[in-house]
Each structure stands twice: as structure tokens, then as C-alpha cells.
């Protein structure tokens, strides 16, 4: 089932949680709502479910305006961050709950319910836990039970609110893969909220980036990661180096340094922010080199697949820190020493007009 939200606005006192949000979630997709805490992603999810009410705007489920439809008639499945399993019921009773609450006319018999519950428990690979209580399960198991419970009523959409947020890193990684697999089997339209960029990029078909109650960018994981449209998205997805500069004659000037051939499309004298990912910077040790930003080597971290070089800004960039990712061979070639002055030359640089940027979103 497709989900559409139109011009949603939600205010909590003086805090704007959602600021005129319009989005379309096509049928059968797994979409991640990604953003820092307080960006409005959970509020949006709860409004789609009907657990919260928007101040204005509408929620359209499968073409019908559902804004006035009661939660229990929206046929959504909701998975909570802290599972919200019924503590006093066994796993079986938890999963059966939705079916048993149906009106007598549409309620299946206990036998049918039992069959269905066991099928669902097999789906989440926890059939052997049917008689346990939630407190006897691990966090990962609880969340799988919560998912089975949500699926029992055959919801038209599945909404997951930070489903792996309360789990430890290893379990989170397993469940991520497992959720993706499950979605590929069921093809139910799903939206999940997360603040973990890795999780969003790894699991989702599409990512909706949110900040301060606004949508920053919508796209496939590849699009948002490799072609960020806003400084916020750039800064939020992965580590990034930020330079303040001015474009003169198609060159980027940062203090006394020049980076050649950047910002051709910018007017003479434009103030800009420039972004480069750590792997998009090259280190040049040749003192005669004119092109590049001067920086002082601080530390070289050589473990893992790639080595990282931490540098401190000097001159106009004093107080700033930069990070460059290089192959270990390249680091050996350079034989950097702490305190050495080098030039940073970006292989790729993304510029944004300075006045187009909300200062907070760079934090």
C-alpha cells in the first residue's frame, strides 16, 4: 500500500517538530527516515500510524485520506523502540493479541490463531520461545517477537520506530540484515526511523533525510551518500572535511591558500563552504606546490584497511581539524612526521553558498 503525506505541520509549544512535510512512500518499498534526534522523524512516523495528530496536513493511505481514521482502523503495524511487548503475556499470547481483539464476526477460531501464530514465530525463527515471557528473552529476540506481533494482523504498512536502537552493536547488525531479508520476502510497504546512517544506507531502498522538521533530501542510499544535495546531508552521512573560502576567478581561496579550478559556476567573490570526504583529499609534501590548503600533520593512525591522517589547520584555518584517508602504501611513501606542514589537495570538492546554510546544521 502506498503512503502519502501532504503539508504536515506539527508544533509542540514553540518547537516545530514538522514543518510542511510532503512525502510519497511508494508501495512495497522499505524507506528509512534518517536524521539527528529532534529532527521530527519519530513524530512523522507516529502521525502516519495515527498515534499522534498533525496540526495541519493530511495522511493518505492508498489514495484515501486517513487523517480522521482511528489508529485501530488504519491497519498499520507498529514496532516500538523499546518493544512494548505485553509483559504479563507469553510470547504466543503477545503475537495472538491482535487476532484475539478482532470483533467476534471477523475473529478467527483459536485453532486458526494458533496456526497463524506458529507460522509467524517460524518466520521470525523463534517458534521454540512460544511459552516464554518477554523478560526471559534477549533484546534482539524481543524485537523479533514485536515484529511478529505487528505482522499478525496483516497490516497494510509496517512502521518501525528506531527498531534496533536499544540493541547492542552486534545484534543490531544481524537484525538489520534479517529485516532486509524479511522485507524482500514480504514486500510490505515499510518505513523505519533511525538516527544511524549506516543502518539507513545498508537496509533501505530509499532514504529520507530530515533535519529541523524539514526534508533535506530523498534518494537511494547511493544518491544521498555520493551526491548530497545540502550541507546537512553532507555532514550527516559519513565524516567530512569543511573549508570556509571565497571563489575568485574560478579558484577557491582559503586564507592565503588557493585550490585551483573549483567553483567555476560561482560568481566572483562568492563566500562558500567546501566539503570533501576524507578519501577525497590527497596529501602533497612538495613545498614548491602552490595548489592546496596548508595544514600541519598531527597524528597518523595506521590500523585497518586504510590509514587515517589527522591534521590541524594553520593560518586562516587555525583551530580546525582535518582527516585524510589514504592507503597504507601511500602513507609509507609520504613518510609523514608529526608537525610537518603539508598541502591538502581535494580530488573532489562540493561547494555551497555560505548564506544558503543554516549554521546549526553544520554542527
Amino acid at each position: 500500500m502506498s503512503i502519502e503525506v501532504k503539508n504536515l505541520h506539527k508544533q509542540f509549544g514553540s518547537f516545530t517538530a514538522l514543518d510542511d512535510i510532503s512525502l510519497n512512500f511508494p508501495s512495497g518499498e522499505l524507506v528509512a527516515l534518517l536524521g539527528p534526534s529532534g529532527c521530527g522523524k519519530t513524530t512523522l512516523l507516529r502521525i502516519i500510524a495515527g498515534l499522534d495528530q498533525a496540526d495541519s496536513g493530511s495522511v493518505i493511505l492508498e489514495g484515501d485520506d486517513a487523517s480522521a481514521t482511528h489508529v485501530r482502523e488504519r491497519q498499520v503495524g507498529f514496532v516500538f523502540q523499546h518493544y512494548a511487548l505485553f509483559k504479563h503475556m507469553t510470547v504466543f499470547d503477545n503475537v495472538a493479541f491482535g487476532l484475539r481483539m478482532k470483533p467476534r464476526k471477523t475473529r478467527p477460531s483459536e485453532k486458526v490463531i494458533a496456526e497463524k501464530v506458529h507460522r509467524l514465530l517460524e518466520l521470525v525463527q523463534l517458534d521454540w520461545l512460544a511459552d516464554r515471557f518477554p523478560s526471559q528473552l534477549s533484546g534482539g529476540q524481543r524485537q523479533r517477537i514485536a515484529l511478529a506481533r505487528a505482522l499478525a494482523v496483516e497490516p497494510r504498512v509496517l512502521l518501525l520506530d528506531e527498531p534496533f536502537g536499544a540493541l547492542d552493536a552486534k545484534v543490531r547488525k544481524e537484525l538489520r540484515r534479517w529485516l532486509r531479508k524479511l522485507h524482500d520476502e514480504l514486500h510490505i510497504t515499510s518505513i523505519f526511523v533511525t538516527h544511524d546512517q549506516e543502518e539507513a544506507l545498508e537496509v533501505a531502498d530509499r532514504v529520507v533525510m530530515m533535519d529541523h522538521g524539514k526534508v533535506e533530501q530523498v534518494g537511494t542510499p547511493d544518491e544521498v551518500y555520493n551526491h548530497p544535495e545540502t550541507p546537512f546531508v553532507y555532514g550527516f552521512l559519513g565524516s567530512v572535511n569543511l573549508f570556509h573560502g571565497r571563489v575568485d576567478d574560478g579558484h577557491l581561496h582559503i586564507g592565503d591558500d588557493v585550490i585551483h579550478n573549483q567553483g567555476e559556476n560561482y560568481e566572483h567573490g562568492s563566500e562558500v563552504y567546501a566539503f570533501a570526504r576524507p578519501h577525497e583529499l590527497e596529501i602533497v609534501t612538495d613545498n614548491q606546490q602552490v595548489n592546496g590548503l596548508s595544514a600541519k600533520v598531527n597524528r597518523v593512525l595506521s590500523f585497518g584497511l586504510n590509514s587515517r591522517v589527522e591534521l590541524d589547520g594553520i593560518n586562516s584555518a587555525a583551530g580546525q581539524h582535518f582527516e585524510v584517508e589514504l592507503s597504507p602504501q601511500r602513507v609509507d611513501e609520504l613518510s609523514l612526521t608529526s608537525g610537518q606542514i603539508v598541502k591538502l589537495v581535494p580530488s573532489k570538492l562540493k561547494l555551497f553558498h555560505r548564506d544558503s546554510i543554516n549554521k546549526d546544521s553544520l554542527a
Binding site: A49, G50, F97, M101, S135, R149, A152
Partner: protein, 304 residues
């Protein structure tokens, strides 16, 4: 997670929980934390003698005074027509006040813990009013409102409805005085539990009553029972408010505590203590029940 929630909820209950978590022996075995032997003896004996003097002794006195003239007299005092009528009235008042306060208390706690509305803080304050105001004032207020010379006095007399110096007044006063017990017990418990489980139930298609019956109630049942037990103890033992509105008509508007007072004022000590021993027994039963409920809630919390 679930245990963490129940733990906070249990903190609301005054009990000997401290001793369950902090093992005293741990400090005793450690030279660095061990206290001087004499301090230990002094503190323990102070506590014990206080308990013996102010709690145990009076309790023993009640029973020994009651049985001083033998079991026959004791039995006669209890089976006296006026005493039996006082027992009946006390049971009646409690059996009306407790269920009503159970419903009010659950409703108030539900509203406060699960919803946001204007005047919530005011409501919480009002729930505590019966605890903060002297019961005698409560009685007087009822006399002012429903008495012959009160606001509704004329209308009540004209329609031949008797509230003051009659059973309805006693029931009203009892309800007022015992109002906070259930609500006070449930509010912190329900607040600590949050509303996620209820939300989960509603999303799964459960109606309001189904959600309450299958999700909320099982989660609060031990706290609720605890509140009801305390509410009942107070309802049966209430003296001040009931004394003002009752009129002390023997065999008609006398509750157990009032009956004790009357007998005592008539220098009928054996009978007064015999009836008092009933109330003391009630207190003991309440304590046993309370401990049992706490124990159950505890094991429930650790099992779930």
C-alpha cells in the same frame, strides 16, 4: 528493560526493600566499614525498645484488657446487638466506599498517567486533599452542606432524605477520607509504565475497554490490590469524619470505632477493648495481606 520499569514503580511503596538489596553482612565482614560494636548495640536496642514500647505494648494491652474478664465476657461484648450492628454498618460503609474509590482511583490515575490535559496538576493536588485536611473538618463540611441548616438542608428535609446523622453521611465521609489511597498508589506506577503497551494494543486493533482489561489492568493489579487493602483499612478504621456526621445513634449510626468510644466513655472497658481488638485484628490482617501483596509484586517483577 521491563525489570527496570517495575523497579521504579516499586520505589513508590514504603517498605523494607532497603534490607533486601543492601546486605548488611557485607559491611559487617569488612573491617573498613564495620562499626563499633557498642554503636551497633545502641542503635539496635533503641529501635527495638521504641518498637516494643509504642507499638507492641499497646497491641498486647488491647488484647489483654479485652480478655481480662474472661472469654465469656469478651464473646458477649462482641455478640451484643449494638456491637453486631456496628460491625454491619462498618462493613456496609467499607463495601460501598472501597469499590467506588477503586473506580475513581483507577479513572483518576489513568487520566493523569496516560493523558495530557489542562488542570492536570490541579487534579493531582486535589487528590491529596483528603490526606492534608483534618477528618473532623471533612465531617463539618458535610454537616454544613447536607445538615438541616445546611445548603441543601431544606430541600432534603422537604423530600425526606436523611444524609447527616444517617448511613449516607457516614458513607460519604468514608469515601472522602479514603479517596487518595488507590489513586496515590496507581499514579506513580502507571506513570512509570508509560503508555507504549497501550499504544501497541490500540495499533493492533484493541478497543478502549479491551486495552484496559487485557493490557493496563494486568500491569497494575498488584499496585491496585495494595491500594485497595490500605483503602479498606482506613475505611473501617475512620473515626474523625464519621464521628461528626454519624450522630452516634446506637444500633443505627455507630461504626466500630465509634462504638469503641461509646463503650469506653461508659466505663465499660472490657467491652470497649473487646471491640477494639476486632479493629486491631483487622490491622494485623491488613499488614499480613500487604506484605503478601508486596512479596507477590516483587516475585512478579523478578520473574517478568
Amino acid at each position: 528493560m521491563s525489570t527496570a520499569i517495575t523497579d521504579t514503580s516499586l520505589k513508590a511503596k514504603p517498605s523494607d526493600r532497603l534490607f533486601k538489596w543492601v546486605e548488611p553482612t557485607k559491611f559487617e565482614h569488612n573491617v573498613a566499614t564495620r562499626e563499633n560494636k557498642w554503636i551497633k548495640i545502641a542503635v539496635i536496642s533503641m529501635g527495638l525498645s521504641f518498637f516494643a514500647l509504642f507499638l507492641l505494648l499497646p497491641l498486647i494491652a488491647v488484647f489483654s484488657e479485652a480478655l481480662r474478664k474472661g472469654f465469656g465476657v469478651y464473646w458477649l461484648a462482641l455478640t451484643d446487638a449494638d456491637a453486631l450492628s456496628a460491625v454491619r454498618l462498618t462493613l456496609l460503609a467499607a463495601s460501598i466506599a472501597v469499590p467506588l474509590n477503586l473506580v475513581f482511583g483507577v479513572a483518576a490515575a489513568w487520566a493523569i498517567a496516560k493523558f495530557e490535559f489542562k488542570g492536570k496538576q490541579l487534579l493531582i493536588t486535589f487528590i491529596d486533599l483528603p490526606f492534608s485536611v483534618s477528618p473532623v473538618i471533612v465531617g463539618l463540611v458535610y454537616v454544613l452542606v447536607f445538615g438541616v441548616n445546611g445548603w441543601f438542608g431544606e430541600w432534603l428535609v422537604a423530600n425526606d432524605v436523611k444524609i447527616i446523622f444517617a448511613v449516607p453521611g457516614i458513607v460519604l465521609a468514608t469515601i472522602f477520607v479514603t479517596f487518595p489511597f488507590v489513586a496515590r498508589e496507581l499514579i506513580p506506577l502507571m506513570q512509570a509504565q508509560g503508555k507504549e503497551e497501550e499504544e501497541a494494543a490500540v495499533v493492533l486493533g484493541a478497543g478502549g475497554w479491551q486495552t484496559f482489561w487485557y493490557v493496563t489492568l494486568p500491569n497494575i493489579k498488584w499496585g491496585l490490590l495494595y491500594g485497595v487493602i490500605l483503602c479498606n483499612a482506613r475505611a473501617m478504621g475512620e473515626f474523625g469524619a464519621v464521628s461528626v456526621v454519624s450522630g452516634h445513634i446506637r444500633g443505627q449510626t455507630n461504626t466500630l470505632p465509634l462504638h469503641v468510644e461509646i463503650l469506653y466513655n461508659e466505663y465499660n472497658f472490657a467491652a470497649a477493648f473487646a471491640v477494639a481488638s476486632l479493629l486491631a485484628l483487622l490491622a494485623l490482617v491488613t499488614l499480613v495481606l500487604k506484605t503478601w501483596v508486596e512479596h507477590r509484586a516483587d516475585t512478579n517483577a523478578s520473574a517478568h
